[in-house]
């Protein structure tokens, strides 16, 4: 009598065991489907025809490295190599290395090297390391996802092509029907447009909102504030044209590193996307616009040319300096087939009289047409009427390809 229950127990145990094994095998199969590390490369190059290479944007204190558009002739720009994946069950990590060509030398930049928490409760998340700041809409996006060859003039003239830095971010997604994300970032302040000597050199606070108006239309809006400062002792400008241009300085030009004081950037962005029935494969329309104000409050080193200025940096005279530059852009891109899209963009900057007594408004008009063979390859032809510099109207034509190989991550809205 005793061995019947034993047999039963064995049978039950065996069946449980076999179920467990099947489940394990299934897990193993699923694990194989997802590789441990995602590797992707973005290949981006083109040819540009223009009369004048980059000479600045109005009288703004910018340099070609951070503010220039495509240069005349063949170029290779923003070649990107990214590695990403789950670190363990708690962290996700990503490394993005960007190769850029400047004045015949190849520069390797680490654009992103961050870890992010994946398991924090209450809708919270922390990101630490080097990453693209969430100030503005375009800033946190990789250049290869843009619809135009270059960033709009409002970005290049004020924030630079993008602001990334070393630091930490805390963000919170609200448990609401409407999308609300609030975040705060603290950075070293060592990357353009920050040049701070403080331990925590820049701070960002941002809010993002979004929702659907219908199946066909979605929107997102954002507000952000970036506070940083410029410390001339920490500053190094990449202005390659400085020497050649020196003779042309009829009146005093404020360079990036002359300024000592606080910088506040206020950014507002709004994006609408539309596709019939929400089916983005065949037809869609994207309208996006951003407004950026850069508020500078501090002093500038005042060069007295007729005096002995051996040690003017230490003892030189300072002059109060206060400027408010405001830029914006708006763009509309229409996609009418799985392969084709076209778009227009306008951007300008209202330059403060402190920089330019004539208050010349740098501006650019763009029109582009793009062919996508697949989701991973695109060919773009762009025409730009570039009026960055007073009196120089440059008609720029660029032909560019952007291609992605490897595990290409999902795109954000």
């Amino acid at each position: 009598m005793r061995f019947i229950p034993t047999m039963l127990a064995t049978a039950v145990a065996t069946s449980i065991f076999s179920v467990a094994v099947t489940a394990q095998e299934q897990d193993a199969v699923q694990q194989q489907d997802k590789s441990l590390i995602n590797i992707s490369a973005i290949l981006n190059a083109g040819f540009t025809s223009r009369d004048n290479d980059f000479e600045g944007i109005g009288a703004l204190p910018v340099d070609g490295d951070h503010a220039g558009g495509p240069e005349d002739g063949f170029w290779l720009d923003h070649t990107e190599l990214a590695l990403s994946g789950a670190v363990d069950d708690m962290f996700y990590g990503k490394l993005t290395v960007v190769l850029e060509e400047h004045d015949d030398s190849t520069e390797v930049e680490i654009e992103e090297a961050f870890v992010q928490t994946m398991g924090m409760p209450y809708g919270l998340s922390v990101r630490a390391g080097r990453f693209l700041s969430n100030v503005g809409y375009l800033n946190s996006k990789h250049a290869h996802t843009d619809s135009f060859v270059d960033r709009p003039i409002a970005y290049r003239g004020l924030l630079g092509r993008h602001y990334y830095d070393d630091g930490v971010r805390l963000n919170w997604v609200a448990p609401t029907d409407i999308y609300v994300e609030l975040g705060a970032e603290a950075f070293a302040g060592g990357q353009y447009p920050a040049s701070s000597g403080d331990t925590v050199g820049s701070q960002v606070a941002y809010a993002k909102f979004g929702g659907d108006i219908s199946d066909s239309t979605s929107w997102q809006a954002g507000l952000a504030w970036l506070r940083t400062d410029n410390d001339p002792n920490e500053c190094s400008s990449h202005d390659h044209d400085e020497e050649e241009d020196h003779d042309e300085h009829e009146h005093e030009v404020v360079e990036f590193c002359d300024f000592d004081g606080d910088k506040d950037f206020y950014v507002a962005d709004l994006v609408f996307k539309w596709a019939p029935g929400g089916n983005y494969k065949y037809e869609s329309l994207t309208w996006q616009t951003e407004w950026i104000q850069a508020d500078e409050d501090g002093r500038i080193a005042h060069e007295e040319h007729d005096e002995d200025h051996d040690d003017h940096e230490e003892e030189g005279e300072w002059e109060a300096f206060d400027a408010k530059n405001t830029g914006w852009y708006t763009s509309l891109v229409y996609q009418w087939s799985p392969n084709w899209s076209a778009g227009v963009r306008y951007s300008e900057i209202d330059v403060d009289a402190a920089y330019d007594e004539h208050e010349y408004k740098p501006k650019a008009y763009d029109a582009m047409i793009q062919y996508n063979h697949s989701h991973f390859s695109s060919l773009r032809l762009q025409f730009t009427r570039d009026e960055s510099i007073d009196g120089e109207e440059d008609d720029v034509i660029s032909l560019q390809y952007t291609m992605a190989i490897g595990d290409h991550g999902a795109h954000t809205f």
């Binding site: 398991g119 924090m120 996307k273 697949s374 954000t412």
Partner: protein, 304 residues
């Protein structure tokens, strides 16, 4: 207003049952999984990220979806890379640890069953091929049954309090499903051996079930839109290997199919792809299967 009063009704029922737990929030990537969730967990708050008229490969990781996923206790998606272009971005930004991959709140339907066309080696020159196999599994009746079982087990794991209720609903669903499929299989017999050209491999499992043979694809490679050169090759295919129907889904463009139809005289037909709760003929999985098979039967008999 109807939906509103229904929700209030559900809420009152919930209160009467004195259930201390809140209704579960379920995020379905596609409407077919929202429909399956409604069969097993009708009291849950269920939303679908896409409609039956959207290509599930091309969905924007839009803010409203981040907000929904933020509050989800469970997501039900196809997996097998169908949502690879948008779901990871949502998971990344939703800040919800419950729905990370590997957690009980992450449920990939296609990964619960054996898939067709699993690729040993995939490279992008082959087009947008899913290495893990065809993800459009909701067109396989037997796989729907397996997925329903796995989903019920997952719901029991997440909401143990109502385990018996989920079991009861599963049993009820499986019984009705088997009966429905039995009838449809018998009805669909004349479709056996029909040769068709279709847009993408969206109906791979339907054709497998009904023994319909897809002899050509409007796409030159998976994910690439029909090109004129490729469509011309399908015209000559008609001479060598005659096909009776050109099929495209609700979310596909009809241009290529119509062009081929005028060149070959073979009828082009738009088939429903997924569930639309607002249309009686597509309101759930039962109605969807029925209307698609009726549509196929009509066109085949009209052609004879």
């Amino acid at each position: 207003m109807r939906i509103h009063s229904k929700l209030v009704g559900l809420w009152v029922v919930g209160l009467l049952l004195a259930s201390p737990a809140q209704a579960m929030n379920i995020f379905a990537c596609e409407p077919e999984w929202a429909a399956l969730a409604r069969e097993l967990a009708p009291d849950a708050n269920i939303s679908s990220a896409t409609t039956a008229y959207q290509d599930p490969h091309f969905v924007q990781a839009r803010p409203s979806l981040i907000a929904k996923l933020r509050r989800a206790d469970l997501f039900i998606c196809s997996g097998s890379e169908l949502e690879i272009g948008w779901l990871p971005a949502l998971q990344m930004r939703a800040n919800n640890p419950a729905i990370r991959d590997g957690q009980p709140g992450a449920f990939y339907a296609a990964e619960q069953v054996e898939r067709l066309d699993v690729q040993e080696q995939v490279d992008r020159s082959m087009g947008d091929v899913h290495a893990g196999g065809n993800p459009h599994v909701h067109w396989s009746p037997s796989r729907i049954a397996s997925i329903a079982k796995a989903l019920a087990a997952r719901l029991q794991q997440l909401d143990g309090e109502h385990a018996a209720l989920y079991q009861q609903r599963l049993d009820d669903f499986l019984m009705r499903w088997q009966q429905h499929i039995g009838q449809l299989s018998a009805q669909a017999k004349p479709l056996k051996g029909t040769a068709v050209v279709a847009y993408h491999t969206s109906y791979r499992y339907l054709f497998d079930w009904l023994n319909i043979e897809q002899v050509g694809d409007l796409e030159p490679k998976p994910g690439l839109p029909p090109s004129s050169g490729h469509l011309a090759s399908l015209v000559s295919l008609q001479q060598q290997q005659p096909f009776a129907l050109i099929i495209f889904s609700d979310y596909h463009d009809d241009k290529g199919a119509n062009w081929l139809a005028t060149k070959t005289g073979v009828p082009a037909m738009r088939l429903a792809y997924s569930v639309d709760p607002n249309k009686p003929e597509m309101q759930d999985l039962f109605a969807l299967y029925q209307s698609v098979i009726e549509q196929l039967l009509q066109s085949v008999s009209a052609h004879d």
